[in-house]
């Protein structure tokens, strides 16, 4: 990286952004640990939970990234009608609220789901989704879209000139262009998904079929909400950070440095690959991801009529929080990406490893002496959602920012285009597509997140996901499904607007 040779930007914004992340992740953990009174050690059941957590996260991440490679390649080299819409829709599972996604998955793969109904019709035995494979299936459902997006961006970032040159020389594209790109992107994508699966809890329990599928996050929940044992929660959260740290070290060891150089941003034209095989991969991925999503829509439509008036103000709240938190995320991500380096990479993974329960509790302990928590419910939600979405935004933006610095930094320094002018004139226009993507992703993630609100919630300031849970808690399952549908639709719309906005006049 050209960072050290070229002081073209001040470090202050990156320091501020980094400080916010560290306070919200490690700071909250310390706040919880300090509150500890008794604190018990880890028992055999906890170690069983650690083993299960790591095993399922490893398999889930491997399969998500493994399947994403052919799907992303197919999407990168084929042009077809509705391709952009399909790419947007394929991103939906990642931003679904957990409970909505689980009910959607069960409507397809459950006992009375579409799959088993079809199997029964042709006389085949029932397939059970519950168990280790169910946990993995759900995690692949959530994370395949994310892996696909990361890889697709990697593919689209290979300059068109390289493909032309390869075509002219009749050189193997796979080995010379795609393999080096995968060596750069795959370890990071694997790491992110591994860590996401590491902190999973409700999905793992429900689809895992029982206490065998106990994760570390469940133990943290039990310690905080049920036993009120902050010491134990902090200890478990440390274990979770430790696992993430090991994963991060391994991922960084094996990841390569981008060496493809720059191009003139022409549209990539591909001639290689089998149309049929690509078609099959795209169809399979679309079926796997869109079938549960259609069930969510289908079940939700019936509930739309039953929605209580309380839903509408909660939508306004959720959307406002999502917009604020999305801009905050992208601002922080840009500040960190412009700085670059290993420390930034560490900061970029921290929020993934943090338990949202510990973050919420720690933050509560930190601000309670000064402010009435309920007054801060929405600002806190926005700040925490922004931080939790940061890793994804950073991962989307930083390769493009690094490439811009690498390719144009010297020229800019020579022309004395530095500081804000450098960001405004060179970086932002060049990273506009990932910036839009990051903005959309952060907004959508914020819409669906319940994370920390439980301790801060104000009876009259519920967000849309909280309203949905309240409906479920009051037996109103149909209305809850309707609220779930609204949540999905609004999240996708926010994502689409931002993602599209970043792509206007960009041929990718």
């Amino acid at each position: 990286m050209a960072r050290s040779a070229l002081p073209i930007i001040t470090m202050v914004p990156a320091i501020v952004a980094g400080a916010i992340v560290v306070v919200l992740t490690l700071g909250t953990l310390i706040a919880v640990a300090l509150r500890a009174e008794v604190g018990s050690g880890l028992g055999p059941a906890d170690w069983a939970a650690v083993r299960f957590t790591v095993a399922q996260a490893f398999v889930s991440a491997s399969l998500s990234v493994g399947f994403a490679i052919p799907v992303a390649r197919a999407l990168a080299r084929r042009q077809f009608l509705w391709r952009r819409l399909l790419i947007t829709l394929l991103g939906a599972p990642f931003i679904l609220p957990v409970i909505v996604a689980v009910l959607g998955l069960l409507a397809v793969f459950g006992r009375n789901g579409v799959l088993n109904t079809a199997l029964a019709a042709i006389g085949l035995p029932e397939v059970s989704i519950y168990g280790f494979h169910g946990v993995v299936l759900a995690h692949v459902f959530f994370n395949l879209p994310l892996a696909t997006r990361f890889l697709l961006q990697g593919w689209l970032a290979i300059p068109a000139e390289r493909f032309r040159l390869a075509a002219g020389l009749n050189a193997p594209v796979g080995r010379l262009l795609e393999w080096p790109m995968l060596c750069v992107i795959v370890p990071g994508a694997f790491l992110v998904i591994f860590v996401i699966c590491l902190t999973s809890f409700a999905v793992a329990l429900t689809l895992g079929g029982g206490p065998r599928a106990t994760t570390v996050e469940l133990a943290i929940y039990e310690a905080l909400r049920f036993d009120f044992d902050p010491g134990r929660a902090a200890l478990l959260a440390c274990v979770q950070f430790g696992l993430c740290a090991i994963a991060a070290l391994v991922a960084w060891r094996v990841s390569a440095v981008d060496a493809l150089g720059t191009g003139l941003d022409r549209v990539v034209q591909r001639w290689d690959g089998s149309r049929w095989i690509d078609g099959i991969w795209i169809t399979l991925a679309a079926m796997f991801l869109l079938a549960p999503l259609s069930m969510v829509v289908f079940q939700g439509l019936a509930g739309l009529d039953d929605l209580p008036a309380e839903v509408w103000p909660s939508i306004v709240r959720s959307v406002s929080v999502a917009i604020v938190s999305a801009f905050l995320t992208v601002g922080m991500a840009l500040a960190l990406a412009l700085q670059g380096g290993r420390l930034v990479a560490v900061i970029g993974v921290l929020p993934l490893a943090a338990s949202s329960l510990v973050v919420g509790t720690g933050l509560f302990l930190m601000i309670f002496p000064f402010v009435r928590p309920a007054d801060m419910a929405l600002p806190v939600t926005a700040a925490v959602n922004a931080t939790l979405a940061l890793p994804f935004a950073l991962r989307a933006i930083s390769p493009a920012v690094a490439a811009t610095t690498e390719n144009y930094g010297r020229l800019a320094a020579q022309l004395n285009v530095t500081g804000w002018a450098w960001v405004r004139l060179v970086v932002v226009p060049r990273v506009r597509a990932p910036l839009g993507f990051a903005l959309g992703l952060a907004a959508a993630l914020s819409m669906g997140d319940l994370g920390v609100i439980a301790l801060f919630a104000d009876a009259d300031a519920a967000t849309l996901p909280l309203t949905m849970y309240r409906l479920m808690g009051s037996y109103r399952m149909e209305a809850a499904a309707g609220a779930g549908l609204l949540l999905v639709a609004i999240s996708l719309m926010l994502f689409w607007i931002c993602d599209r906005g970043g792509r206007v006049n960009v041929d990718v």
Partner: protein, 328 residues
Amino acid sequence: MQKTLLAVAGLMLATPAFADGHANTLTVYAPDYFGSEWGPGPSIEAAFEAQCDCDLVYQTGDVLPRLLLEGENTEADVVIGLNTDVTKKARESGLLTTHGVDFSGLTLPIDWTDDTFVPFNYSHTAFIYDNTKLDGFDSFDALLDAPDDVRVVIQDPRTSISGLALVLWVNAVYGDESEAAWAKLAPKILTVTKGWSEAYGLFTDGEADVVLSFTTSPAYHIIAEEDLTKSAAIFDEGHYFFVELAAKVATTDNTDLADQFMAFVLTPEFQSLIPTTNWSFPAALPADQWPDGFQSLPVPEKVLFYSEEEAAALRDEAIEAWRAALSQ
């Protein structure tokens, strides 16, 4: 960018004046479902405000964790919606005080004399099934002996209060044989969920045939949906008692108002709002004053219940029996 971040940081650290301490505001900490539009909160608030000349404000969320985190600086005057499995911890914190409410009007199936906690509604843990698809079960043994293709969904005792009530229920019925009982139930358990809502959602979606819920659950379907197909299986061995409680916070600066609210909890006005908003039996209202759908609900003859001391002593053992049998 930098300015925006600083502005946001400033916003987060800003210190607005505490709204606490208004003589006429009663702050009540309540669970989420309680304060929502379709929960009991709003109608109770209206009824109380009509007689107290005050402003009742709910703070919803995790009641006890929040109270314990805040300690003596809590803003709460009253907490409502606690369960018996957390009363020990709440009592030992010293944050709650005695209520002085007259219990002569209580209509609970068990004797209640607690000087700190006032019960406001109750139910019993029960398995709910669709009576058009299953014949039902008249005993716990019958459920354990049911064919393995009957799929049951329960809640995790480590994360859910109803799940915890279930393991205590099994312990009360089977004692030392609990693990064997769980082993018999294990093949029928479709899955275990984090909370009640997820499990009940699986049941209403048709994914599970039987769900762990409460004897009062069918009342919702009967009254709100005119659906008579959901029944609670009533077991000969008895059902575990499930009660929700209110308590006065020791540090309240609105003692009179808090006392007034605690007394209000057991009045017919409050109690008559409970059945069709919280879908539970009122704690102090004779059965003939319950709504129609409730009067006809089958109730267990035998009620099982552990005191908070017993429950605390048995909890780890009961959960371990569950975990061991279901982890096979």
